[in-house]
Protein backbone atom coordinates (compact mmCIF):
# COMPACT_ATOMS: atom_id res chain seq x y z
CA UNK A 1 0.00 0.00 0.00
CA UNK A 2 1.18 3.46 -0.82
CA UNK A 3 -0.13 5.10 2.35
CA UNK A 4 -1.23 8.63 3.01
CA UNK A 5 -0.48 11.45 0.63
CA UNK A 6 0.36 14.73 2.29
CA UNK A 7 0.89 18.16 0.81
CA UNK A 8 2.38 20.43 3.46
CA UNK A 9 2.09 24.12 2.65
CA UNK A 10 2.89 23.56 -1.00
CA UNK A 11 3.45 26.52 -3.27
CA UNK A 12 4.36 26.37 -6.92
CA UNK A 13 5.13 29.60 -8.68
CA UNK A 14 6.00 30.43 -12.24
CA UNK A 15 7.66 33.66 -13.18
CA UNK A 16 6.76 35.15 -16.49
CA UNK A 17 8.58 38.38 -17.05
CA UNK A 18 7.69 40.70 -14.20
CA UNK A 19 4.71 38.61 -13.18
CA UNK A 20 4.67 35.76 -10.67
CA UNK A 21 1.96 33.18 -11.18
CA UNK A 22 0.91 31.08 -8.21
CA UNK A 23 -0.12 27.83 -9.80
CA UNK A 24 -0.50 26.46 -6.26
CA UNK A 25 -0.61 28.72 -3.25
CA UNK A 26 0.03 27.36 0.27
CA UNK A 27 -1.91 24.17 -0.32
CA UNK A 28 -2.10 21.75 2.61
CA UNK A 29 -3.92 18.51 2.12
CA UNK A 30 -4.07 14.89 3.28
CA UNK A 31 -5.42 12.13 1.04
CA UNK A 32 -6.20 8.76 2.58
CA UNK A 33 -5.27 5.49 0.85
CA UNK A 34 -8.11 4.05 -1.18
CA UNK A 35 -9.85 7.38 -1.59
CA UNK A 36 -11.37 8.44 -4.89
CA UNK A 37 -10.74 12.17 -5.05
CA UNK A 38 -11.50 14.77 -7.67
CA UNK A 39 -9.98 18.23 -8.10
CA UNK A 40 -12.19 20.66 -9.88
CA UNK A 41 -12.13 24.34 -10.65
CA UNK A 42 -11.84 26.76 -13.54
CA UNK A 43 -9.16 26.57 -16.15
CA UNK A 44 -5.83 27.72 -14.77
CA UNK A 45 -6.82 27.07 -11.17
CA UNK A 46 -3.95 24.65 -10.59
CA UNK A 47 -5.49 21.20 -11.04
CA UNK A 48 -2.80 19.86 -13.34
CA UNK A 49 -0.12 21.43 -11.19
CA UNK A 50 -1.49 19.67 -8.10
CA UNK A 51 -1.55 16.30 -9.86
CA UNK A 52 1.94 16.76 -11.25
CA UNK A 53 3.31 17.59 -7.84
CA UNK A 54 1.60 14.64 -6.17
CA UNK A 55 2.99 12.39 -8.92
CA UNK A 56 6.53 13.70 -8.50
CA UNK A 57 6.59 15.11 -12.01
CA UNK A 58 6.92 18.63 -10.77
CA UNK A 59 8.53 19.97 -7.62
CA UNK A 60 6.98 22.63 -5.38
CA UNK A 61 8.75 25.96 -5.05
CA UNK A 62 8.25 25.56 -1.32
CA UNK A 63 6.58 23.05 0.97
CA UNK A 64 6.78 19.30 1.30
CA UNK A 65 5.18 16.34 -0.45
CA UNK A 66 4.98 13.03 1.40
CA UNK A 67 3.66 9.84 -0.12
CA UNK A 68 3.52 7.19 2.60
CA UNK A 69 6.99 7.19 4.11
CA UNK A 70 8.58 8.68 1.04
CA UNK A 71 9.33 12.36 0.69
CA UNK A 72 9.09 13.16 -3.00
CA UNK A 73 10.74 16.52 -2.46
CA UNK A 74 13.88 14.84 -1.16
CA UNK A 75 14.30 12.22 -3.86
CA UNK A 76 16.69 12.39 -6.81
CA UNK A 77 15.30 12.57 -10.32
CA UNK A 78 16.06 8.95 -10.92
CA UNK A 79 14.46 7.88 -7.64
CA UNK A 80 11.32 9.78 -8.49
CA UNK A 81 11.26 8.11 -11.91
CA UNK A 82 11.48 4.76 -10.20
CA UNK A 83 8.80 5.73 -7.72
CA UNK A 84 6.45 6.74 -10.52
CA UNK A 85 7.16 3.57 -12.40
CA UNK A 86 6.35 1.25 -9.53
CA UNK A 87 3.56 3.04 -7.71
CA UNK A 88 1.73 5.44 -9.98
CA UNK A 89 -0.42 5.17 -13.08
CA UNK A 90 -0.73 8.39 -15.06
CA UNK A 91 -3.30 9.66 -17.51
CA UNK A 92 -2.32 13.06 -18.85
CA UNK A 93 -4.53 15.80 -20.11
CA UNK A 94 -3.10 15.56 -23.61
CA UNK A 95 -0.42 13.82 -25.56
CA UNK A 96 -0.44 10.54 -23.76
CA UNK A 97 0.88 7.97 -26.18
CA UNK A 98 4.20 7.15 -27.77
CA UNK A 99 3.57 7.55 -31.51
CA UNK A 100 5.92 4.82 -32.72
CA UNK A 101 4.34 2.14 -30.54
CA UNK A 102 1.06 0.36 -31.26
CA UNK A 103 -1.87 0.55 -28.82
CA UNK A 104 -0.91 -2.70 -27.14
CA UNK A 105 2.78 -1.76 -27.02
CA UNK A 106 1.83 1.52 -25.36
CA UNK A 107 -0.11 -0.41 -22.73
CA UNK A 108 2.80 -2.80 -22.28
CA UNK A 109 5.30 0.04 -21.96
CA UNK A 110 5.16 0.43 -18.18
CA UNK A 111 5.01 -3.29 -17.52
CA UNK A 112 8.02 -3.72 -19.77
CA UNK A 113 9.96 -1.12 -17.81
CA UNK A 114 8.86 -2.88 -14.65
CA UNK A 115 10.40 -6.07 -15.96
CA UNK A 116 7.22 -8.07 -16.47
CA UNK A 117 8.03 -10.45 -19.27
CA UNK A 118 6.55 -11.86 -22.46
CA UNK A 119 3.24 -13.64 -22.37
CA UNK A 120 2.01 -12.37 -19.03
CA UNK A 121 2.56 -8.81 -20.17
CA UNK A 122 0.83 -9.36 -23.52
CA UNK A 123 -2.18 -11.07 -21.95
CA UNK A 124 -2.64 -8.39 -19.36
CA UNK A 125 -2.35 -5.60 -21.92
CA UNK A 126 -4.83 -7.30 -24.24
CA UNK A 127 -7.32 -7.86 -21.45
CA UNK A 128 -7.18 -4.23 -20.22
CA UNK A 129 -7.59 -2.99 -23.78
CA UNK A 130 -10.69 -5.16 -23.97
CA UNK A 131 -11.95 -3.69 -20.70
CA UNK A 132 -11.75 -0.19 -22.17
CA UNK A 133 -13.52 -1.35 -25.29
CA UNK A 134 -10.65 -1.43 -27.72
CA UNK A 135 -10.32 -5.09 -28.65
CA UNK A 136 -9.43 -5.38 -32.30
CA UNK A 137 -7.42 -2.17 -32.25
CA UNK A 138 -4.38 -3.54 -30.46
CA UNK A 139 -2.04 -3.10 -33.39
CA UNK A 140 -3.04 0.40 -34.41
CA UNK A 141 -0.62 3.22 -33.88
CA UNK A 142 -1.89 6.31 -31.98
CA UNK A 143 -2.15 8.18 -35.28
CA UNK A 144 -4.73 5.65 -36.40
CA UNK A 145 -6.97 6.11 -33.36
CA UNK A 146 -9.49 8.84 -32.53
CA UNK A 147 -8.84 11.20 -29.64
CA UNK A 148 -11.22 9.29 -27.40
CA UNK A 149 -9.69 5.96 -28.34
CA UNK A 150 -6.22 7.34 -27.59
CA UNK A 151 -7.44 8.49 -24.20
CA UNK A 152 -8.75 5.00 -23.49
CA UNK A 153 -5.41 3.47 -24.40
CA UNK A 154 -3.83 5.87 -21.91
CA UNK A 155 -6.29 4.78 -19.23
CA UNK A 156 -5.58 1.14 -20.05
CA UNK A 157 -1.87 1.78 -19.67
CA UNK A 158 -2.38 3.57 -16.35
CA UNK A 159 -4.33 0.72 -14.79
CA UNK A 160 -2.70 -2.29 -16.46
CA UNK A 161 -0.16 -2.88 -13.74
CA UNK A 162 -2.60 -2.24 -10.88
CA UNK A 163 -0.76 0.76 -9.47
CA UNK A 164 -1.48 1.85 -5.92
CA UNK A 165 -2.13 5.39 -7.06
CA UNK A 166 -3.77 6.50 -10.29
CA UNK A 167 -3.47 10.15 -11.31
CA UNK A 168 -5.73 11.17 -14.14
CA UNK A 169 -5.83 14.70 -15.55
CA UNK A 170 -9.26 15.17 -17.16
CA UNK A 171 -9.42 11.60 -18.40
CA UNK A 172 -12.92 11.96 -19.84
CA UNK A 173 -12.35 15.28 -21.57
CA UNK A 174 -12.42 13.81 -25.06
CA UNK A 175 -14.93 11.06 -24.49
CA UNK A 176 -18.67 10.74 -25.18
CA UNK A 177 -20.83 10.18 -22.14
CA UNK A 178 -21.31 6.43 -22.68
CA UNK A 179 -17.60 5.76 -22.85
CA UNK A 180 -16.95 8.14 -19.98
CA UNK A 181 -19.42 6.28 -17.85
CA UNK A 182 -17.91 2.94 -18.72
CA UNK A 183 -14.45 4.21 -17.85
CA UNK A 184 -15.54 5.65 -14.54
CA UNK A 185 -17.33 2.41 -13.78
CA UNK A 186 -14.13 0.51 -14.49
CA UNK A 187 -12.06 2.73 -12.24
CA UNK A 188 -14.55 2.58 -9.42
CA UNK A 189 -14.39 -1.19 -9.70
CA UNK A 190 -10.60 -1.17 -9.50
CA UNK A 191 -10.79 1.20 -6.58
CA UNK A 192 -13.15 -1.25 -4.89
CA UNK A 193 -11.20 -4.42 -5.69
CA UNK A 194 -7.62 -3.30 -5.25
CA UNK A 195 -8.14 -0.39 -2.87
CA UNK A 196 -6.06 1.76 -5.21
CA UNK A 197 -6.09 5.49 -4.60
CA UNK A 198 -7.55 7.57 -7.44
CA UNK A 199 -7.03 11.28 -7.95
CA UNK A 200 -8.69 12.98 -10.90
CA UNK A 201 -8.96 16.48 -12.14
CA UNK A 202 -12.09 17.22 -14.09
CA UNK A 203 -14.80 19.50 -15.36
CA UNK A 204 -17.04 16.53 -15.99
CA UNK A 205 -20.12 16.31 -13.71
CA UNK A 206 -20.22 12.56 -14.36
CA UNK A 207 -16.83 12.18 -12.74
CA UNK A 208 -17.63 14.53 -9.92
CA UNK A 209 -20.80 12.60 -9.17
CA UNK A 210 -18.87 9.37 -8.69
CA UNK A 211 -16.02 10.74 -6.59
CA UNK A 212 -15.81 10.13 -2.84
CA UNK A 213 -14.25 13.46 -2.21
CA UNK A 214 -14.36 16.74 -4.09
CA UNK A 215 -11.72 19.41 -3.74
CA UNK A 216 -12.24 22.77 -5.40
CA UNK A 217 -9.33 24.92 -6.53
CA UNK A 218 -9.25 28.56 -7.45
CA UNK A 219 -6.15 30.58 -8.24
CA UNK A 220 -3.99 27.84 -6.81
CA UNK A 221 -5.81 27.71 -3.51
CA UNK A 222 -8.07 25.04 -2.04
CA UNK A 223 -11.39 26.81 -1.57
CA UNK A 224 -13.55 23.84 -0.71
CA UNK A 225 -13.11 20.23 0.32
CA UNK A 226 -16.12 17.95 0.68
CA UNK A 227 -14.35 16.20 3.60
CA UNK A 228 -14.15 19.27 5.74
CA UNK A 229 -14.98 22.92 5.91
CA UNK A 230 -12.23 25.16 4.64
CA UNK A 231 -11.82 28.45 6.44
Amino acid sequence: MIGQIELQDVTRTYTQGEETIHALHHATLTLEPGEFTTFYGPSGSGKSTALNIIGGLDLPSSGKVLVGDASLTEMTRSERADFRLHHIGFVFQAYNLIPVLSAIENVEFIMQLQGITGDERKERAASVLKQVGLSGMELRRPGELSGGQQQRVAVARAIASNPELVLADEPTANLDSTTSEALIELMLELNETYKSTFIFSTHDPLVMKSAHRLIELKDGQIISDSNKEVA
Binding site: R84, L85, I88, N96, V100, I110, L113, Q114, R157
Partner: protein, 413 residues
Protein backbone atom coordinates in the same frame (compact mmCIF):
# COMPACT_ATOMS: atom_id res chain seq x y z
CA UNK B 1 15.13 -2.55 -13.19
CA UNK B 2 18.40 -1.82 -14.76
CA UNK B 3 18.81 0.16 -17.92
CA UNK B 4 20.24 -2.92 -19.63
CA UNK B 5 17.11 -4.94 -19.00
CA UNK B 6 15.20 -2.28 -20.92
CA UNK B 7 17.47 -2.85 -23.92
CA UNK B 8 14.92 -4.73 -26.05
CA UNK B 9 12.35 -1.98 -25.53
CA UNK B 10 14.92 0.74 -26.16
CA UNK B 11 16.17 -1.02 -29.29
CA UNK B 12 12.64 -1.30 -30.59
CA UNK B 13 12.05 2.40 -30.00
CA UNK B 14 15.36 3.25 -31.66
CA UNK B 15 14.53 1.19 -34.76
CA UNK B 16 11.01 2.56 -35.04
CA UNK B 17 12.40 6.07 -34.82
CA UNK B 18 14.92 5.30 -37.55
CA UNK B 19 12.10 4.08 -39.77
CA UNK B 20 9.92 6.98 -38.79
CA UNK B 21 11.95 9.66 -40.50
CA UNK B 22 13.04 7.74 -43.55
CA UNK B 23 14.42 10.63 -45.49
CA UNK B 24 16.69 11.73 -42.67
CA UNK B 25 17.80 8.20 -41.86
CA UNK B 26 18.48 7.57 -45.53
CA UNK B 27 20.63 10.67 -45.78
CA UNK B 28 22.55 9.71 -42.66
CA UNK B 29 23.09 6.19 -43.97
CA UNK B 30 24.20 7.61 -47.29
CA UNK B 31 26.71 9.92 -45.62
CA UNK B 32 28.07 7.14 -43.42
CA UNK B 33 28.30 4.57 -46.17
CA UNK B 34 29.82 6.89 -48.77
CA UNK B 35 32.30 8.15 -46.17
CA UNK B 36 33.29 4.67 -45.09
CA UNK B 37 33.21 3.22 -48.59
CA UNK B 38 35.39 5.92 -50.11
CA UNK B 39 37.83 5.75 -47.20
CA UNK B 40 38.17 2.02 -47.66
CA UNK B 41 38.79 2.45 -51.37
CA UNK B 42 41.29 5.21 -50.75
CA UNK B 43 43.08 3.15 -48.12
CA UNK B 44 43.19 0.17 -50.47
CA UNK B 45 44.70 2.26 -53.27
CA UNK B 46 47.29 3.75 -50.93
CA UNK B 47 48.12 0.32 -49.52
CA UNK B 48 48.25 -1.10 -53.02
CA UNK B 49 50.70 1.57 -54.06
CA UNK B 50 52.82 0.96 -50.96
CA UNK B 51 52.82 -2.76 -51.59
CA UNK B 52 53.68 -2.25 -55.22
CA UNK B 53 56.67 -0.08 -54.37
CA UNK B 54 57.85 -2.54 -51.75
CA UNK B 55 57.41 -5.47 -54.09
CA UNK B 56 59.19 -3.68 -56.93
CA UNK B 57 62.14 -3.11 -54.64
CA UNK B 58 62.24 -6.58 -53.15
CA UNK B 59 61.82 -8.39 -56.45
CA UNK B 60 64.04 -5.81 -58.08
CA UNK B 61 67.45 -6.53 -56.63
CA UNK B 62 66.92 -6.09 -52.89
CA UNK B 63 65.36 -9.30 -51.60
CA UNK B 64 64.17 -9.55 -48.03
CA UNK B 65 67.55 -9.66 -46.39
CA UNK B 66 71.11 -9.31 -47.54
CA UNK B 67 74.50 -10.33 -46.30
CA UNK B 68 76.90 -7.44 -46.85
CA UNK B 69 80.20 -6.08 -45.75
CA UNK B 70 79.61 -3.89 -42.69
CA UNK B 71 80.36 -0.68 -44.64
CA UNK B 72 78.79 -1.60 -47.95
CA UNK B 73 75.42 0.01 -47.29
CA UNK B 74 77.06 3.38 -46.68
CA UNK B 75 79.63 3.06 -49.42
CA UNK B 76 78.75 0.49 -52.06
CA UNK B 77 82.16 0.22 -53.69
CA UNK B 78 84.32 -2.77 -54.48
CA UNK B 79 86.41 -1.96 -51.44
CA UNK B 80 83.62 -3.38 -49.26
CA UNK B 81 83.52 -6.95 -50.46
CA UNK B 82 83.86 -10.33 -48.83
CA UNK B 83 85.00 -13.82 -49.73
CA UNK B 84 82.28 -16.10 -50.99
CA UNK B 85 82.17 -19.13 -48.76
CA UNK B 86 80.54 -22.05 -50.58
CA UNK B 87 79.99 -24.05 -47.40
CA UNK B 88 78.08 -21.25 -45.67
CA UNK B 89 76.10 -20.59 -48.82
CA UNK B 90 75.13 -24.27 -49.00
CA UNK B 91 73.91 -24.17 -45.38
CA UNK B 92 71.99 -21.00 -46.08
CA UNK B 93 70.23 -22.59 -49.04
CA UNK B 94 69.15 -25.48 -46.80
CA UNK B 95 67.23 -23.23 -44.42
CA UNK B 96 63.44 -23.64 -44.80
CA UNK B 97 62.85 -19.88 -44.85
CA UNK B 98 65.12 -19.39 -47.84
CA UNK B 99 63.15 -19.38 -51.05
CA UNK B 100 65.98 -17.96 -53.15
CA UNK B 101 69.49 -16.76 -52.46
CA UNK B 102 71.93 -15.17 -54.88
CA UNK B 103 75.59 -14.11 -54.60
CA UNK B 104 76.48 -11.00 -56.52
CA UNK B 105 79.02 -8.39 -57.28
CA UNK B 106 77.51 -4.90 -57.20
CA UNK B 107 79.67 -1.96 -58.22
CA UNK B 108 79.19 1.52 -59.59
CA UNK B 109 80.46 1.70 -63.15
CA UNK B 110 80.37 3.79 -66.29
CA UNK B 111 79.01 2.31 -69.49
CA UNK B 112 80.23 3.79 -72.74
CA UNK B 113 79.03 3.32 -76.27
CA UNK B 114 80.68 4.88 -79.26
CA UNK B 115 78.38 7.86 -78.72
CA UNK B 116 77.29 8.19 -75.12
CA UNK B 117 78.29 7.23 -71.62
CA UNK B 118 76.32 6.86 -68.43
CA UNK B 119 76.83 6.01 -64.80
CA UNK B 120 75.16 2.73 -63.89
CA UNK B 121 75.20 -0.02 -61.29
CA UNK B 122 76.86 -3.14 -62.57
CA UNK B 123 75.77 -6.50 -61.22
CA UNK B 124 77.74 -9.70 -61.58
CA UNK B 125 75.26 -12.50 -61.17
CA UNK B 126 74.71 -16.26 -61.41
CA UNK B 127 71.78 -16.60 -63.81
CA UNK B 128 70.53 -19.83 -62.16
CA UNK B 129 70.25 -18.16 -58.74
CA UNK B 130 68.39 -15.15 -60.09
CA UNK B 131 65.79 -17.08 -62.04
CA UNK B 132 62.26 -16.53 -60.64
CA UNK B 133 63.75 -14.22 -58.04
CA UNK B 134 65.06 -10.92 -59.21
CA UNK B 135 65.07 -8.52 -62.10
CA UNK B 136 68.35 -10.08 -63.22
CA UNK B 137 66.50 -13.32 -63.87
CA UNK B 138 63.72 -11.95 -66.09
CA UNK B 139 63.26 -13.01 -69.65
CA UNK B 140 64.85 -10.76 -72.21
CA UNK B 141 62.69 -8.58 -74.35
CA UNK B 142 65.11 -9.08 -77.17
CA UNK B 143 68.29 -11.11 -77.58
CA UNK B 144 69.12 -13.68 -74.92
CA UNK B 145 69.43 -13.91 -71.15
CA UNK B 146 72.79 -14.50 -69.47
CA UNK B 147 73.56 -18.17 -69.62
CA UNK B 148 75.97 -19.11 -66.88
CA UNK B 149 78.37 -17.71 -64.31
CA UNK B 150 81.07 -17.18 -66.92
CA UNK B 151 78.94 -15.52 -69.60
CA UNK B 152 80.78 -12.52 -71.06
CA UNK B 153 77.65 -10.91 -72.43
CA UNK B 154 75.87 -7.84 -71.11
CA UNK B 155 72.15 -7.67 -70.27
CA UNK B 156 70.80 -4.11 -70.21
CA UNK B 157 67.51 -2.21 -70.21
CA UNK B 158 65.72 -0.96 -73.32
CA UNK B 159 65.82 2.64 -72.09
CA UNK B 160 69.56 2.50 -71.51
CA UNK B 161 70.13 1.03 -74.94
CA UNK B 162 68.20 3.94 -76.36
CA UNK B 163 70.17 6.49 -74.33
CA UNK B 164 73.47 4.97 -75.40
CA UNK B 165 72.31 5.19 -79.01
CA UNK B 166 73.58 1.72 -79.62
CA UNK B 167 72.07 -1.62 -80.61
CA UNK B 168 71.71 -5.20 -79.48
CA UNK B 169 74.85 -7.11 -80.46
CA UNK B 170 77.15 -4.08 -80.37
CA UNK B 171 80.06 -3.73 -77.99
CA UNK B 172 80.31 -1.23 -75.17
CA UNK B 173 82.99 -0.49 -72.59
CA UNK B 174 82.51 -0.77 -68.85
CA UNK B 175 84.80 1.17 -66.55
CA UNK B 176 85.00 0.73 -62.79
CA UNK B 177 87.45 0.73 -59.91
CA UNK B 178 89.21 -2.50 -59.14
CA UNK B 179 90.13 -3.75 -55.68
CA UNK B 180 93.35 -1.73 -55.67
CA UNK B 181 91.55 1.49 -56.55
CA UNK B 182 92.82 1.34 -60.10
CA UNK B 183 90.65 2.02 -63.08
CA UNK B 184 89.72 -1.18 -64.81
CA UNK B 185 87.87 -1.40 -68.09
CA UNK B 186 86.78 -4.06 -70.55
CA UNK B 187 84.69 -4.37 -73.65
CA UNK B 188 81.41 -6.30 -73.47
CA UNK B 189 78.90 -7.30 -76.10
CA UNK B 190 75.21 -6.49 -75.44
CA UNK B 191 73.55 -9.89 -75.75
CA UNK B 192 70.09 -9.17 -74.33
CA UNK B 193 67.76 -6.31 -73.57
CA UNK B 194 65.12 -6.30 -70.84
CA UNK B 195 61.95 -4.39 -70.36
CA UNK B 196 61.30 -3.47 -66.73
CA UNK B 197 58.26 -1.99 -65.07
CA UNK B 198 60.19 1.12 -64.12
CA UNK B 199 62.20 3.36 -66.42
CA UNK B 200 64.59 4.02 -63.55
CA UNK B 201 65.63 0.36 -63.38
CA UNK B 202 65.99 0.08 -67.14
CA UNK B 203 68.33 3.04 -67.04
CA UNK B 204 70.51 2.12 -64.11
CA UNK B 205 70.85 -1.67 -63.84
CA UNK B 206 73.32 -3.54 -66.00
CA UNK B 207 73.99 -7.26 -65.64
CA UNK B 208 76.84 -9.52 -66.55
CA UNK B 209 77.95 -12.86 -65.15
CA UNK B 210 79.52 -13.11 -61.72
CA UNK B 211 82.84 -14.27 -63.13
CA UNK B 212 83.23 -11.56 -65.72
CA UNK B 213 82.40 -8.93 -63.08
CA UNK B 214 84.95 -10.51 -60.74
CA UNK B 215 87.50 -10.42 -63.53
CA UNK B 216 86.80 -6.74 -64.16
CA UNK B 217 87.28 -5.83 -60.49
CA UNK B 218 90.17 -8.24 -59.99
CA UNK B 219 88.39 -9.99 -57.13
CA UNK B 220 88.16 -13.57 -58.43
CA UNK B 221 86.60 -15.19 -55.32
CA UNK B 222 84.85 -12.28 -53.74
CA UNK B 223 81.32 -10.86 -53.77
CA UNK B 224 79.48 -7.72 -52.60
CA UNK B 225 76.22 -9.16 -51.41
CA UNK B 226 74.06 -12.19 -50.92
CA UNK B 227 70.40 -11.39 -51.47
CA UNK B 228 67.85 -13.70 -49.87
CA UNK B 229 64.13 -14.09 -50.52
CA UNK B 230 62.00 -15.35 -47.63
CA UNK B 231 58.26 -16.08 -47.60
CA UNK B 232 57.22 -12.82 -45.95
CA UNK B 233 58.08 -9.18 -45.33
CA UNK B 234 58.36 -9.90 -41.64
CA UNK B 235 61.60 -11.67 -41.03
CA UNK B 236 61.91 -13.67 -37.81
CA UNK B 237 64.81 -12.70 -35.61
CA UNK B 238 65.85 -16.31 -35.33
CA UNK B 239 66.54 -16.34 -39.05
CA UNK B 240 68.65 -13.21 -38.85
CA UNK B 241 70.64 -14.77 -36.01
CA UNK B 242 71.06 -17.92 -38.06
CA UNK B 243 72.39 -15.98 -41.02
CA UNK B 244 74.66 -13.91 -38.82
CA UNK B 245 76.21 -17.14 -37.48
CA UNK B 246 76.93 -18.30 -41.02
CA UNK B 247 78.58 -14.97 -41.84
CA UNK B 248 79.98 -13.76 -38.52
CA UNK B 249 82.08 -11.00 -40.10
CA UNK B 250 79.45 -9.50 -42.35
CA UNK B 251 76.41 -7.39 -41.61
CA UNK B 252 72.93 -8.84 -42.03
CA UNK B 253 70.69 -6.09 -43.39
CA UNK B 254 66.97 -6.32 -43.96
CA UNK B 255 65.08 -4.68 -46.81
CA UNK B 256 64.02 -2.02 -44.33
CA UNK B 257 67.64 -1.00 -43.82
CA UNK B 258 68.39 -1.07 -47.52
CA UNK B 259 65.25 0.79 -48.59
CA UNK B 260 64.66 3.30 -45.77
CA UNK B 261 62.72 5.53 -48.17
CA UNK B 262 60.08 2.90 -48.66
CA UNK B 263 59.71 2.41 -44.93
CA UNK B 264 59.36 6.17 -44.47
CA UNK B 265 56.87 6.34 -47.29
CA UNK B 266 54.72 3.63 -45.74
CA UNK B 267 54.91 5.29 -42.32
CA UNK B 268 53.87 8.65 -43.75
CA UNK B 269 51.13 6.91 -45.65
CA UNK B 270 49.83 5.32 -42.44
CA UNK B 271 49.79 8.73 -40.81
CA UNK B 272 47.91 10.28 -43.70
CA UNK B 273 45.38 7.49 -43.78
CA UNK B 274 44.72 7.78 -40.07
CA UNK B 275 44.36 11.51 -40.43
CA UNK B 276 41.97 11.08 -43.32
CA UNK B 277 39.94 8.50 -41.40
CA UNK B 278 39.65 10.93 -38.52
CA UNK B 279 38.48 13.74 -40.77
CA UNK B 280 35.86 11.55 -42.41
CA UNK B 281 34.69 10.29 -39.03
CA UNK B 282 34.49 13.76 -37.54
CA UNK B 283 32.52 14.98 -40.56
CA UNK B 284 30.14 12.04 -40.27
CA UNK B 285 29.93 12.49 -36.51
CA UNK B 286 29.03 16.17 -36.71
CA UNK B 287 26.33 15.46 -39.28
CA UNK B 288 24.99 12.71 -37.09
CA UNK B 289 24.95 14.90 -34.00
CA UNK B 290 23.12 17.58 -35.89
CA UNK B 291 20.47 15.19 -37.09
CA UNK B 292 20.15 13.74 -33.58
CA UNK B 293 19.58 17.18 -32.11
CA UNK B 294 16.86 17.75 -34.68
CA UNK B 295 15.11 14.50 -34.06
CA UNK B 296 15.33 14.87 -30.29
CA UNK B 297 13.83 18.32 -30.57
CA UNK B 298 10.97 16.97 -32.63
CA UNK B 299 10.42 14.20 -30.15
CA UNK B 300 10.54 16.34 -27.02
CA UNK B 301 6.99 15.47 -26.01
CA UNK B 302 7.33 11.74 -26.16
CA UNK B 303 10.72 11.77 -24.46
CA UNK B 304 9.10 13.80 -21.68
CA UNK B 305 6.19 11.40 -21.60
CA UNK B 306 8.50 8.41 -21.24
CA UNK B 307 10.26 10.07 -18.34
CA UNK B 308 6.93 10.97 -16.78
CA UNK B 309 5.89 7.33 -17.00
CA UNK B 310 8.99 6.29 -15.13
CA UNK B 311 11.70 5.69 -17.69
CA UNK B 312 15.00 6.60 -16.08
CA UNK B 313 17.16 9.37 -17.53
CA UNK B 314 19.86 6.79 -18.31
CA UNK B 315 17.42 4.81 -20.41
CA UNK B 316 16.39 7.92 -22.31
CA UNK B 317 20.04 8.59 -23.09
CA UNK B 318 20.62 5.01 -24.13
CA UNK B 319 17.61 5.08 -26.44
CA UNK B 320 19.03 8.00 -28.39
CA UNK B 321 22.55 6.60 -28.39
CA UNK B 322 21.22 3.27 -29.67
CA UNK B 323 19.50 5.04 -32.50
CA UNK B 324 22.75 6.52 -33.73
CA UNK B 325 24.63 3.31 -33.02
CA UNK B 326 22.28 1.36 -35.29
CA UNK B 327 22.50 4.01 -37.99
CA UNK B 328 26.28 3.92 -37.79
CA UNK B 329 26.40 0.15 -37.77
CA UNK B 330 24.11 -0.25 -40.78
CA UNK B 331 25.87 2.61 -42.54
CA UNK B 332 29.28 1.07 -41.88
CA UNK B 333 28.20 -2.31 -43.20
CA UNK B 334 26.83 -0.68 -46.35
CA UNK B 335 30.03 1.37 -46.58
CA UNK B 336 32.22 -1.72 -46.24
CA UNK B 337 30.18 -3.42 -48.96
CA UNK B 338 30.56 -0.33 -51.12
CA UNK B 339 34.31 -0.11 -50.49
CA UNK B 340 34.92 -3.81 -51.14
CA UNK B 341 32.86 -3.58 -54.30
CA UNK B 342 34.90 -0.61 -55.46
CA UNK B 343 38.14 -2.46 -54.77
CA UNK B 344 36.76 -5.41 -56.70
CA UNK B 345 35.95 -3.16 -59.68
CA UNK B 346 39.52 -1.86 -59.68
CA UNK B 347 41.09 -5.27 -59.11
CA UNK B 348 42.70 -5.19 -62.55
CA UNK B 349 44.56 -2.09 -61.55
CA UNK B 350 44.24 1.52 -62.55
CA UNK B 351 46.75 3.20 -64.77
CA UNK B 352 47.87 6.48 -63.31
CA UNK B 353 50.33 7.27 -66.08
CA UNK B 354 47.85 9.80 -67.49
CA UNK B 355 48.09 11.97 -64.36
CA UNK B 356 51.52 10.95 -63.16
CA UNK B 357 53.94 11.21 -66.03
CA UNK B 358 57.10 11.28 -64.00
CA UNK B 359 56.06 8.44 -61.71
CA UNK B 360 57.84 5.73 -63.61
CA UNK B 361 61.12 7.60 -63.68
CA UNK B 362 60.79 8.41 -59.97
CA UNK B 363 60.64 4.72 -59.22
CA UNK B 364 56.89 4.42 -58.87
CA UNK B 365 54.92 2.03 -60.99
CA UNK B 366 52.15 3.62 -63.04
CA UNK B 367 49.74 0.76 -62.40
CA UNK B 368 48.08 0.71 -58.99
CA UNK B 369 46.40 -2.41 -57.72
CA UNK B 370 44.22 -1.77 -54.65
CA UNK B 371 45.10 -3.93 -51.66
CA UNK B 372 42.38 -4.44 -49.08
CA UNK B 373 43.60 -4.57 -45.49
CA UNK B 374 41.14 -6.01 -42.98
CA UNK B 375 42.95 -4.04 -40.28
CA UNK B 376 42.12 -0.77 -42.06
CA UNK B 377 38.45 -1.65 -42.33
CA UNK B 378 38.35 -2.77 -38.71
CA UNK B 379 40.10 0.35 -37.48
CA UNK B 380 37.88 2.65 -39.51
CA UNK B 381 34.67 0.97 -38.37
CA UNK B 382 35.67 0.72 -34.74
CA UNK B 383 36.82 4.34 -34.71
CA UNK B 384 33.55 5.46 -36.28
CA UNK B 385 31.40 3.45 -33.90
CA UNK B 386 33.30 4.51 -30.81
CA UNK B 387 33.58 8.21 -31.72
CA UNK B 388 30.06 8.29 -33.16
CA UNK B 389 28.56 6.78 -30.04
CA UNK B 390 30.58 9.10 -27.81
CA UNK B 391 29.41 12.05 -29.91
CA UNK B 392 25.78 10.98 -29.57
CA UNK B 393 25.96 11.11 -25.82
CA UNK B 394 25.93 14.86 -25.93
CA UNK B 395 22.58 15.35 -27.68
CA UNK B 396 21.23 12.30 -25.88
CA UNK B 397 22.20 13.69 -22.53
CA UNK B 398 20.47 16.92 -23.49
CA UNK B 399 17.29 15.02 -24.17
CA UNK B 400 17.25 13.51 -20.71
CA UNK B 401 18.28 16.54 -18.77
CA UNK B 402 15.41 18.79 -19.48
CA UNK B 403 12.56 18.40 -17.11
CA UNK B 404 9.94 16.03 -18.41
CA UNK B 405 7.14 18.54 -17.93
CA UNK B 406 9.01 21.18 -19.89
CA UNK B 407 9.39 18.68 -22.68
CA UNK B 408 5.70 17.79 -22.64
CA UNK B 409 4.71 21.45 -22.55
CA UNK B 410 7.07 22.46 -25.30
CA UNK B 411 5.54 19.78 -27.43
CA UNK B 412 2.02 20.97 -26.72
CA UNK B 413 2.49 24.58 -27.67
Amino acid sequence: MGVLAALPLLSRLAFRNILRNRKRSFLTLLAVSVGIGSSILLAALARGMGEQITRDAIYGMTGHIQVRHASFTDDPSIEHRFVSDEESFESLMQHPLVEHAAQRIRVPAVIMSERESRGITLFGISPQSEKDFSLAGINPNRGRALQDSSDNGLFIGEKLLEKLKTKLGRRVVLTTQDKDNNISDRGFRIVGVFDAELDSTELSYVFTSLQSAQTLTHTPREISEISILTPSLDIPNSFITFTQKLYPNQRITTWKDIEPLIVTLVTIQNGFLLFWFLIVIIAIGLGLMNSLFMSIYERARELGLMQALGMKPGAIVLQTVLESFYLLLIGSLLGIALGVWGVHLLANGIDISAFAEGASIAGISTMIYPALFVADIAMLTVMLLVLGVLGSFYPAWHSSHEHSLTLIHRGMT
